[in-house]
Symmetry: C2
Subunit: 345 residues, 2 copies
DNA sequence: TTGTAAGCGTTATCAC
DNA sequence: GTGATAACGCTTACAA
């Protein structure tokens, strides 16, 4: 194993100089800097991680806690994980993958042992059990999602209210006047209602401003429940021509129900989905959809973490930030300008 | 921070005793063992990771290198990553997520710095640049996939030959006599041909044994190339009734081409896919498919890694293992017994 | 069955 | 602008 003292001998400097050169934490003359770097390269020196962690009291590792349970769209989680990892590397950090099956004890362990300098939590629930654990340790944390009480930590999430508003806006622009909003089932609203409610609120508000008549209905996402939901909508508001689907699971059922009931999309009914781009493109017709910038979510989370760690190191109290990322609506084949309804002859 | 010396004082024992109790590396009387564990729990002691790594010369961390490039089916990679993580935890190891954008330098870094005790490589190419880097360091490595020259490291992969054989077997059992095998494009064969070729070999062999007449054709997986491939197959072998699709990208095109050319699946043509279960279920009709045990892949990789690390620690030369996991065929709606062809009236 | 103490290879404080 | 050196908190011979 190549140690710092091999470099010391090879470059003819002290170990502190080598350390300072490598960490950039002290002004070094170009001459010695060059010599040290050359020796490092020549010898293939890689500072020992354990020693570095012990002496520096930080591991340069960020723990990323991934959800396991069904119901999360895997490719999105993976994309976030990857953007977290690459962003972390750019800051000289590595990423430790922690699954949720250890529960709150998992984050406690990695934080208390100094294995990780900070923790990024994905798929946060409103009343998340891991948050008190993190606070108790004084661990730096960034959440992807918004919990009930985010004090003492930073969060980042999509601007779901803006997403809801975009849906209303788009359908209004296309001349639709009666809209149905198909939401999630009650389970979701209880567990991490945050985004579900925020979307609905944003939608409602903009729909009101644009003079839309609208209806919102919960939906479990099964074929049966979607059928029931659609039937009620048609019964209550037969002139509904626009649909906003929030529950991704209901998209497939909705499309085939519309089809089998003789309404074609987008001629007779426009459908806007709130879902990832990849999903929207899988359907036929491809769905006009509102989605947030996935990779950005990971990038921002890491940037926040780095800021917190830097502040904490300087003895400053890290600022709790809470940015919301702006979603975009991508028009595809499932929405169209409202045409004059064909009268039955 | 709670250190081992806090436990020492609280339990009235020496630091080595605490260490031995926690690591189980020495016989300890039940009495002291109990006292130590109680103190540990009471004080909430978590051994400092950096110190542990430095003193013990191992990090209890396994690096998992994930592929980034398009063309890999993300949910599968994620599933493997999760099974790697949970299995590693059962052995007291954590998992460091490494992406491939650092190239061979990434594995060199985590290994040489002692950040990771070993490296698990996913999506291995035949002539993988990271392998020489690992060998040069003497790093313990396990590959998911089979490279050209696997000496000095362990591998685990699906038994693709068995998978190919299962396809032939199934179609033969259903009475099909003329089969077309739709493979990958030339790019795949060059990059990591391993599995592509092995599958084809297994298929060929069993097809021969069962007296099938067969044809194999490469396919890039685009709609156009699939159309071309299918056209050639029909031209060369008009009586073909069974299709084996290896290139997942060609599945969608193939199904719609068969449909639009008036052959219905499974009445007129049976289709067997070589792909993950999740994918097979997404199509209409749901595909009869051969797939390997995904989670098992991660589990076995970690078990092999642990064995290598244990051996190496004992001063023994780790054994290079190379297990192949047995795939299974799940019959769904895309295959059926060959019916007597309808004569045009 | 338990204790003593010498490292492990950095970082960061102090001194120059 | 550079050097010497004392931590950092464990593990693991070696002793008893």
């Amino acid at each position: 194993m190549v140690t710092i003292f091999d470099v010391v001998r090879h470059a003819g400097v002290s170990s502190s100089t080598v350390s300072y050169v490598l960490n950039g934490t002290r002004r070094i003359s170009e001459a010695t800097r060059g010599r040290v770097l050359r020796s490092v390269a020549e010898l293939g020196f890689h500072p020992n991680a354990g020693a570095r962690t012990l002496a520096g009291r930080r591991s340069h590792i960020i723990a990323l806690v991934m959800p396991l349970h069904r119901g999360v769209y895997v490719p999105i989680m993976t994309e976030i994980a990857i953007s977290v990892t690459t962003t972390a590397r750019r800051h000289g950090y590595d990423v430790l993958l922690v699954t949720n099956d250890e529960g709150p004890e998992g984050v406690r362990r990695v934080a208390a042992s100094g294995l990780a300098d900070g923790v990024i939590l994905m798929d946060v629930e409103l009343d998340d059990q891991r948050i008190p654990a993190l606070r108790a340790q004084g661990t730096q944390a960034v959440l992807i999602g918004l919990p009930d009480d985010p004090h003492g930590l930073s969060c980042v999430d999509h601007d779901f209210a803006a997403a809801g508003a975009l849906c209303a806006e788009h359908l209004a622009d296309l001349g639709h006047r009666e809209i149905a909003f198909i939401g999630y089932g009650s389970g979701v609203y209880q567990r991490h209602a945050g985004y579900a409610e925020r979307t609905l609120t944003g939608f409602r508000e903009r729909a009101g401003q644009r003079g839309l008549r609208f209806l919102d209905r919960p939906c479990e996402g099964t074929y049966e429940s979607t059928a029931g939901t659609l039937a009620r909508i048609v019964a209550d508001r037969p002139r509904t021509t626009g649909f906003v689907v929030q529950n991704e699971a209901a998209i497939g059922p909705l499309l085939s129900l519309l089809h089998s009931s003789g309404r074609s999309v987008p001629e007779d009914a426009s459908v806007v989905a709130l879902c990832p781009e990849q999903l929207a493109e899988q359907y036929a017709p491809a769905l006009t959809a509102v989605s947030g910038p996935t990779r950005e979510l990971g990038r921002v989370a890491v940037d926040q973490m780095i800021r917190r760690l830097t502040d904490a190191r300087r003895g400053a109290q890290p600022e709790d930030e809470r940015p919301l990322l702006t979603p975009t609506l991508t028009p595809r084949q499932s929405t169209a300008r409202l045409s004059v309804p064909k009268e039955p002859s």
